[in-house]
């Protein structure tokens, strides 16, 4: 039932199926992501990658399947079956916690389970400044600090302090994406590449344990794409955040990911290290669009 679990799994997806009317966008997909690693989800256009993301981040309710996320250590997965049988959305035990994401609403997936995401077509708050974008990402802790607006309305110092800390955190991320100088400009006025990086910084400001990036390199030139790689490896190295990314740009995928899952027509066709996947004839066939019978030929071709 449950796929093989490494010692430090953070996310398991079991038999995820999503149907829209008669169309099956995702068909009993199962895979795992390891803590502190970069897992890439690749596949041809229309393979169902973004649908998987939408299911994980709570924007879609999957037709079937289970999506479990652990905080703390993978030992949390020991309670997986108990939690599945209970009506609860999550269970906490000390510093460990286990979340069933498919049961949670989108804002709770971010607010409680700390899964952040970016979007294929960038979704910034265009009319707000760069800094404001990063402040909105820290809404929940700031809201608490403002005493649900009551202390804030009265102008109590506790909120001031929290706000300054939030600004410091925003500045930290702005420094890492080289946007400190443009902090007070509207986000919609930034060049495309900066918008992409800002969206990632905004997601990071919400303190995620798992960051889901939907085609972060789309539309970037080689230089920007390289900068992006640096940011992603920095995030993993310095913050220990696990990454799940959808990507078309193979240079990004092969260079930075630890683990690749390949989808085609909603089904998983390959799963392994970048090297393994690169040489998997099924993957090559899917990308080049060959019939199943010809796979053998292709395989022969590749091994030459």
């Amino acid at each position: 039932m449950s796929p093989s679990m490494s010692s430090d799994t953070i996310l398991t997806v079991d038999n995820l199926t999503m149907r829209f009317g008669g169309l099956t966008a995702v068909d009993s997909l199962s895979f795992t992501a390891t803590r502190g690693e970069i897992t890439a989800l690749i596949g041809p256009n229309g393979a169902g990658k973004t649908t998987v993301f939408n299911c994980i981040t709570g924007f879609y309710k999957p037709t079937e399947g289970r999506i479990a996320l652990a905080h703390g250590s993978a030992a949390a997965f020991d309670r997986l079956e108990d939690l599945t049988d209970s009506p609860e959305q999550f269970s906490r035990n000390g510093s460990d916690a286990l979340f069933l994401l498919e049961r949670m609403q989108d804002h709770d997936v971010s607010g409680k389970a700390h899964v952040a995401r970016t979007f294929q077509n960038i979704r910034l708050f265009g009319g707000m400044t760069v800094l404001e974008n990063l402040m909105v990402a820290q809404h929940l802790p700031l809201m608490k600090a403002s005493g649900y607006s009551i202390f804030g309305l009265l102008g109590l110092p506790g909120y001031r302090k929290a706000e300054n800390e939030a600004i410091d955190k925003a500045r930290y991320w702005l420094e890492h994406i080289n946007l400190v100088d443009r902090a007070d400009e509207p986000a919609a006025g930034l060049p495309y590449g900066d918008q992409r990086r800002l969206e990632i910084a905004r997601a990071m400001c919400s303190d995620p344990v798992l960051l889901c990036l939907d085609e972060p390199a789309a539309g970037l030139n080689a230089r920007e794409s390289h900068d992006l790689n640096d940011i992603l490896t920095f995030i993993r190295r310095e913050h220990g955040t696990s990454l799940l990314l959808i990507e078309h740009d193979m240079s990004v995928v092969m260079e930075i990911s630890d683990h690749v899952v390949v989808l085609d027509y909603g089904k998983k066709i390959s799963d392994g290290t970048p090297d393994y996947v690169r040489n998997d004839p099924k993957v090559i066939a899917a990308y080049l669009g060959v019939d199943d019978e010809e796979i053998d030929d292709v395989e022969a071709e590749v091994s030459k």
């Binding site: 709570g58 607010g111 265009g126 009319g127 800094l131 809201m143 925003a170 902090a183 509207p186 997601a203």
Partner: protein, 443 residues
């Protein structure tokens, strides 16, 4: 408008003017030229051709002149006659900023002008009521981007809550507190209105844009119709009478043993109105203060973020339900305060005061002022309410001009008078965001 006239007074210009005149004739001849009137035998038609002729002549020669003097350059439009564009917008906004302190000083000083006619104080009260309503609705429409066409419902809830508590509940259950009625009821009315904001907000959470507008309109009408027909509770079309006056914290405005005696002043009937004026001024400033503060708090940023992109908000842990409902509730609360004030000032309320046209007026003030801009809304209220109140004598034409002004201002400045947005937090320098980048929300 297409401008066929390359050479002034050419045949093309003449043809264009003739067509326009013909259309005008078609529009006005049957409806304006033939007036239906009642006589002994029933309805008959009275001919009335002069205004039609004038209208046709005005259009014909007007277009001819426009063709000759203004449209000779290709691509010139009627709307170009009014200044627009970034440069004029900047100048306008700088002027407007200088205007703010002037407006505040005038607002505070107005009743103190010696020998001022009471009419102006009344007018001031009316304008301030709309300023307050505009600022209240601005939270919902301008900040949260939720198009509400039924805002008057909360104004009505506030007014009726106050009226019913003050005329029924207090005399029966808490006699002795009559003098404090207004001060007890004001917060209650605000809370009740906020409660209704949540009740009406819940079902419309999923609705977007124009659908939301139309459902809020429907809710507004439902509340008005219920007020009109539930005789036992609301007095039906007769409304509620003898609503107690607001007191100066327990001191009545009367000849003996009232406010004047307490402070050793000579009694004057104007005192009550001056008091009412300052009361609504304080309430309006309270609304303004709260809105400005809230904008800089996480809740306010969440409203604006929701206006910009709801899906991105959800991905950052913001609950759309809570964000929308707080906007509805707070907007409604200020509407409720204004309603209480209206009830105590008039002393009499009936459903007639809470028709759809009031909602449209308030929304027009918010949109014309520039969504989200506190100052723009105050100016719009001053112009639309104060300006038009001035033409009371031409009652019928007043609303006609009001409607035309709404259309013209929208064509002139679709984003309102002051359309740029000021950032709520800054790292180095506080900048404004130009209107082109600010979303209006889909909700």
């Amino acid at each position: 408008m297409s401008s066929p006239a390359r050479q002034p007074f050419g045949l093309a210009a003449l043809k264009d003017a003739a067509i326009a005149a013909l259309i005008t004739l078609g529009l006005f001849a049957p409806v304006m030229g033939l007036r239906t009137a009642q006589d002994n035998s029933g309805l008959t038609i009275v001919e009335n051709w002069w205004p039609v002729l004038v209208a046709v002549a005005v259009v014909f020669f007007g277009r001819l002149i426009l063709n000759a003097f203004f449209w000779s350059d290709n691509g010139f439009k009627v709307t170009d006659l009014i200044p627009r564009g970034e440069a004029t917008a900047k100048v306008g906004e700088t002027l407007a900023k200088l205007l703010a302190p002037v407006l505040i000083i005038v607002a505070i000083g107005l009743p103190l002008i010696p020998g001022l006619d009471r009419y102006y104080i009344d007018l001031g009260i009316l304008v301030l009521t709309y300023v307050m309503l505009g600022w209240g609705l601005n939270i919902v429409v301008g900040l949260a981007g939720l198009l509400d066409l039924g805002y008057v419902a909360f104004y009505a809830v506030g007014a009726y809550s106050f009226a019913l508590i003050a005329t029924v509940v207090i005399p029966n259950y808490a006699p002795g507190l009559e003098l404090w009625a207004f001060w007890i009821c004001l917060p209650l009315a605000g809370l009740l209105a906020a409660f209704w904001g949540i009740i009406l907000g819940f079902p419309v959470l999923r609705l977007r844009g124009d659908y939301l507008a139309i459902v809020t309109l429907a809710f507004g009408e439902i509340i008005r119709i219920v007020l009109l027909n539930w005789y036992e509770f609301t007095g039906g079309p007769n409304g509620i009478n003898r609503i107690p006056d607001a007191t100066f914290f327990g001191l009545e405005f009367k000849r003996n043993n009232g406010f004047a005696d307490f402070f050793g002043l000579d009694y004057s009937s104007t005192q009550k109105f001056i008091f009412l004026y300052y009361l609504i001024l304080v309430l309006a400033f309270l609304t303004n203060f709260a809105t400005i503060r809230l904008r800089r708090l996480p809740i306010g940023r969440a409203w604006e973020a929701m206006r910009e992109d709801e899906i991105a908000c959800r991905s950052l842990g913001l609950s759309i339900v809570k964000t929308k409902l707080t906007a509805f509730a707070l907007g409604a609360m200020f509407g409720g305060f204004a309603g209480s004030f209206f009830a105590t000032k008039q002393g009499f309320i009936s459903p007639e005061s809470f028709s759809f046209i009031e909602s449209a007026n308030i929304l027009a003030i918010v949109v014309l002022g520039g969504m989200g801009s506190q100052l723009g809304i105050a100016i719009a209220a001053l112009v639309m309410v104060g300006g038009f109140e001035y033409f009371r004598e031409f009652e019928q034409y007043r609303m006609l001009v009001f409607g035309l002004a709404m259309v013209l201002i929208m064509i002139w400045r679709p984003r309102g008078l002051i359309s740029s947005r000021t950032a709520t937090v800054f790292l180095k320098e506080k900048k404004t965001v130009s209107a082109d980048m600010v979303a209006e929300g889909r909700g």
